[in-house]
């Protein structure tokens, strides 16, 4: 039976470097996309991605599996991203009413493809989705990406972001609605 993330982290804290390799392999892709799609600038995203893992390494001796490793990892990621937004004078946690009132900031829908080719339509749809994701307010994209890339539940996202579950649910609902709108064109 394969070791759990929590077991691997504890093994790494005890000096087993191979345990970290496995843990990293499991989470590198999801966390990378989470940061990259949340930050949008590749250079900055890679810097933050590295900082997050360095933090994991740094605090390994204090790690205690009180929650899923993934929740812990994304909590660190959230904190780093909050620092990033703060430095840029932005706040990742919006007032809840912003979630409601914020109009869907979508790019104008592209002209429908004249060619009825399915692949072209698909590409266009994905492009719209990508732009809509980029246009989401940080708090909404964070929640959506934590769910999609980290596989976190609403409760876990609330814990990782220091929010309550209702707020998380609301942000996710708005995020999904905007993305769905983009897909529908």
């Amino acid at each position: 039976m394969e070791a759990t993330d929590e077991q691997l982290m504890l093994a790494y804290a005890a000096g087993d470097a191979a345990a970290f390799d496995k843990l990293y392999a499991r989470h590198r892709g999801g966390l990378y996309r989470f940061v990259l799609r949340g930050i949008k600038e590749r250079g900055v995203a890679e810097e933050l991605f590295q900082e997050i893992w360095m933090r994991v390494i740094e605090v390994r001796l204090r790690y205690a599996p009180r929650a899923r490793f993934t929740t812990w990892l994304y909590t660190i990621a959230h904190n780093r991203m909050v620092d990033h937004w703060r430095k840029r004078g932005l706040n990742i946690v919006p007032l809840e009413r912003n979630d409601v009132d914020d109009p869907v900031p979508l790019e104008p829908a592209a002209e429908p493809a004249r060619e009825p080719q399915r692949q072209a339509e698909t590409n266009e749809q994905l492009e719209r989705l990508f732009r809509a994701l980029e246009a989401l307010p940080p708090a909404q994209s964070e929640v959506f990406l934590m769910r999609e890339e980290g596989g976190l539940s609403l409760e876990e996202i609330a814990a990782a972001t220091g929010s309550n579950q209702e707020a998380v649910k609301s942000r996710l609902r708005y995020a999904v609605a905007k993305l769905r709108g983009a897909l529908d064109g």
Binding site: Y12, G15, D16, A17, F20, D21, Y24, R28, G29, Y32, R33, L36, E46, F49, Q50, W53, M54, I57, E58, R60, L61, T75, N79, T122, Q125, L126, L129, F130, L133, R147, E148, L154, A159, G162, N164, K169, L172, V176, L179, R180, L183
Partner: protein, 185 residues
């Protein structure tokens, strides 16, 4: 979040692509993790301050011994006739006792810590709530003490401690149930 439309968004999202960190970024992180595991800081960080503490204890011990011998020599009567006169002063209590060696030993671990691990811990300041002046509190213990202050109605002290805690641990996310106990009501 298991509505079919959400599933459609998730499915399209996954089709966006699976970017992964570049190999050189992987290599930097894995290398840092390996080096950290090899350094076993838990052990080495303990050995250095222990050595320093031992040297301090020995130095203080030797200095005190020299001081005692010197004062014994000065108190010793030069002739038997002076012995009677000297008898009374000899019964005086010895000079202020040396600080117990245990103090030095207890303080020593602070030498091994990195600056960020050196908060002015509450144990040294919280009067009756402190477990002992040399015993350092973990963040969790510190929060417990703040909660006790709050419960005891010592809000000013609790506010000060909480502000100090946040200054010392800017990245520490206080869990919601604890936050309710430590924050002003």
């Amino acid at each position: 979040m298991a509505e079919p439309e959400d599933d459609k968004v998730a499915e399209r999202y996954r089709a966006l692509g699976r970017e992964e960190p570049p190999p050189e970024l992987d290599a930097r992180i894995l290398d840092a993790a390996r080096r950290a595991a090899q350094s076993r800081p838990g052990r080495r960080r303990w050995m250095l301050p222990a050595s320093i503490a031992a040297v301090i204890v020995l130095s203080v011990g030797v200095a005190l011994q020299v001081q005692r011998e010197r004062s014994d020599l000065m108190d010793q009567p030069a002739t038997p006739a002076e012995a009677g006169k000297a008898a009374a002063p000899a019964l005086k209590p010895s000079p202020a006792p040396a600080p117990p060696a245990s103090d030095n030993v207890m303080r020593a671990p602070a030498l091994e810590r990195k600056p960020q691990d050196l908060p002015a811990r509450p144990a040294a300041r919280s009067g009756s709530l402190s477990a002992g002046r040399s015993v350092e509190a973990s963040p969790e213990q510190w929060l417990t003490q703040i909660a006790e202050l709050r419960r005891a109605g010592r809000d000013d002290e609790a506010d000060r401690q909480l502000a100090e805690f946040r200054r010392r641990y800017p990245d520490y996310r206080i869990p919601q149930p604890i936050r309710q106990k430590v924050e002003p009501r």
